[in-house]
């Protein structure tokens, strides 16, 4: 039995990705892990004083909530999913999670809006980098 690692957030685009990952897990009989990465780099864009530790804690709680939603989505489709939260830069944490979890497949979601941080071109480069550095197959769905 293989292991699918699905990086997720929330919103319509993520629901599509989650559904695709759930369908794949059911089809292949693989176990499924939803991953949320707490990335507070956006705080660099403000000149105001903030506590990254407190913000990261709040975002981790929000991530847990989003992961619970993803887990319920999988359960509703007959798949038991585990959830993981990591803190740091998204790409680095994705690669680390893929290695540590022993994933066979990493699923990334196609951007839902043109302004998304994960633009299509960037996303393809990200997928290549994960594959090259971890040896884990990476798909954009």
């Amino acid at each position: 039995m293989g292991k699918i690692l699905c990086a997720t957030r929330g919103g319509e685009a993520s629901y599509r990705t989650q559904d695709a990952a759930i369908a794949l897990a059911r089809e292949r009989g693989d176990s499924l892990i939803f991953l949320y990465v707490v990335d507070t780099h956006f705080l660099d864009r403000t000149e105001r004083a903030v506590r990254p530790d407190v913000v990261a804690e709040e975002m981790a709680r929000m991530g847990q909530f989003l992961l619970t939603m993803a887990q319920e989505r999988a359960q509703a489709q007959g798949v038991q999913a585990e959830v993981r939260i990591r803190r740091g830069e998204v790409l680095e944490e994705l690669k680390a999670a893929a290695r540590e979890e022993g994933a066979d497949l990493v699923i990334l979601g196609r951007p839902g809006e043109e302004e998304s941080a994960f633009r299509q071109v960037d996303l393809e480069a990200v997928a290549r980098e994960i594959e090259e550095e971890t040896g884990v197959e990476t798909r954009i769905v």
């Binding site: 957030r9 705080l43 000149e47 105001r48 004083a49 709680r61 929000m62 619970t68």
Partner: protein, 564 residues
């Protein structure tokens, strides 16, 4: 060791408080004895010119008998010798002005030879455009551009501007006097340490409060008490963020409230942006109601000597009116999303929401809450004891650290030195353009435009502030506008009630609602929303934010006209 660190830290903060307090007390003035010349050097706007070189020539000699410098208020006093003199001439020079000369009349000479002091009429210096003027102006524009386009971190942009200005001034002056902009001592004089220490003190206070979980708990209570009535939930969340932004600051408020709001929205099955956007708009508006609510108010309050109570009396009612109008607006704009709300969340999600919204440190909250209440009381009553806001903030920070027994090292790490450096460097850059005369020219231009019409001036300040704040960062904009508004306040009939400073406050802060980059709170809210999979695009923000800005600024302007 840790105890020692805490004591040393508190001692440091207390020392700073004492220094600031002593600095705030009136200083004794020196009075000349015997024959002396006293006067004041001003520019064409009657603004004091400091550090003008005053050379006193006696009896037609080529070498000056004595030299002096004009003080901060433009005044100078030069002693004359006890012996009688036949002729007295003053030469007043400054790198950014044409040199002026004053000669004593017979009547003046008679008084001076009697051993009396002569008070000169104000000496008005005429500005001159030097190479330094253009360098300082271009540097200032480059700093604004770097910040607006995010090509450089705002602190880096301001530091770079400072380095260019000081570097060219100090290295260039010996080569060509035209390259001089500002010297180091002058630059430091432009740094408003009242602002720096007020911001620092409040950072520590907020740093303690924000980890207690109070905001998340209050947001959850708003959700619970609204019992599915989304309009009530929206109004409650807007009120919460507005009040929290007024008492703390809007960036912190949004960083703490946005994640839990997002979860509430998902629990109700509505688009999170339909709750986040009203919150961030309310946050930007609410911050204006107090001195400590926004950095722009801190800048304005310190420059114009507007107290905490002045803001409460003169702006808070206007802000409340603007909030009501804003609430009605968002309820109309998002009415479809609100109608679509359902309570279909699973028990697991509801439990998760409740868990995420609990107060994490109740004991700390009790202590920090009491201290914070004391700080607010001190802000209100402090002006009776000539307590400047910076001292109140530092005293509050010390009290917070002592009562909550926070780790001083951790708390000093909470102080964002990058932000403080940004303020210091920004003051120097703005000081440089003020020194070379750019600000004077802008002020004169606006004065020419509005004539003696205070209503026109109010409209120009409010709306120029509102529109420009959507394009350029409002902190440097406000810092640069302060001397302009100061000049208008002094020169326009009826403006002495400081209405134009309140206009600047409304324009600069409410204007931040017009675009995604208009306020830091917008950017951090978009950051959180994006990390949850609900990106707030520039277009989305503009579509909702621009009309909101127009409505709130209109209400704010109407309030100014009614109140003043």
């Amino acid at each position: 060791m840790r105890k020692n660190s805490r004591s040393i830290g508190c001692l440091f903060l207390l020392t700073v408080s004492a220094i600031l307090l002593v600095g705030a007390l009136p200083q004794p003035t020196w009075a000349a004895e015997g024959a002396a010349l006293a006067g004041r050097v001003v520019d064409f706007q009657q603004q004091p010119v400091r550090r003008a070189r005053i050379a006193l020539y006696l009896n037609g000699e080529e070498e000056p008998y004595v030299e002096g410098e004009s003080q901060r208020d433009g005044t100078f006093v030069l002693d004359l010798p006890d012996e009688p003199v036949d002729a007295v001439r003053l030469e007043i020079s400054h790198p950014h002005f044409r040199t002026a000369t004053w000669k004593a009349t017979w009547a003046d000479l008679e008084r001076l030879n009697d051993g009396s002091a002569v008070r000169l009429p104000d000496i008005v210096l005429e500005r001159q455009l030097t190479v330094g003027f253009w360098i300082a102006t271009l540097t200032f524009l480059a700093v604004l551009l770097f910040i607006a386009t995010e090509r450089l971190h705002s602190t880096m942009a301001a530091l770079l501007g400072t380095a260019v200005i000081l570097g060219i001034s100090l290295v260039g002056r010996p080569i060509n006097e035209q390259l001089f902009i500002i010297d180091f001592e002058q630059a430091i004089e432009y740094v408003d340490f009242n602002v720096v220490f007020l911001v620092m003190g409040m950072m520590i206070v907020i740093g303690v409060i924000e980890e207690t979980g109070i905001f998340q708990w209050m947001a959850y209570q708003a959700y619970r008490l609204s019992q599915g009535r989304v309009w009530l939930l929206v109004a409650s969340l807007m009120l919460l963020t507005s009040v929290a932004s007024a008492l703390l600051d809007n960036v912190t408020t949004m960083l703490l409230v946005a994640p839990i709001t997002l979860q509430i929205a998902l629990t109700l099955g509505i688009d999170p942006l339909a709750l986040l956007m009203p919150e961030v708009l309310a946050s930007n508006v609410g911050g204006i109601s107090t001195l400590i609510g926004t950095p722009t108010n801190i800048l304005i309050g310190s420059y114009a000597d507007i107290t905490f109570n002045d803001f409460l009396v003169n702006l808070t009612p206007g802000v409340l009116l603007a909030q009501v109008a804003l609430t009605v607006y968002v309820l109309l704009v998002y009415r479809k999303q609100y109608r679509a709300a359902s309570a279909a969340a699973s028990p697991a999600l509801l439990a998760q929401l409740e868990e995420n919204a609990r107060i994490t440190q109740p004991d700390k909250l009790r202590k920090a809450g009491s201290v914070f209440l004391g700080i607010i009381v001190l802000f209100i009553l402090g002006e009776q004891f000539h307590l400047v806001p910076a001292v109140t903030a530092i005293l509050g920070a010390v009290a917070m650290l002592l009562v909550v027994r926070a780790d001083i090292e951790q708390m000093l790490r909470v102080v964002d030195w990058t932000t403080l450096m940004f303020f210091i460097a920004l003051f120097i850059v703005v000081g440089a353009v003020q020194e070379v005369g750019l600000i004077s020219y802008i002020a004169a231009g606006i004065r020419l435009l509005v004539g003696d019409n205070l209503i026109a001036a109010t409209l120009v300040v409010v709306w120029a502030g509102a529109i420009l704040s959507g394009v350029i960062a409002n902190i440097p904009f406000t810092a640069a506008m302060l001397p302009v508004v100061g000049f208008l306040t002094r020169s326009l009939p009826g403006a002495s009630n400081k209405v134009l400073f309140y206009s600047l406050s409304i324009g600069a802060a409410m204007g931040g609602n017009s675009s995604l980059i208009g306020a830091s709170a917008n950017i951090v809210t978009a950051g959180i929303a994006e990390r949850a999979g609900y990106p707030i695009t520039y277009r989305t923000f503009l579509k909702i934010g621009l009309p909101a800005m127009a409505i709130t600024v209109t209400v704010g302007t109407a309030w100014l006209f009614i109140h003043f």
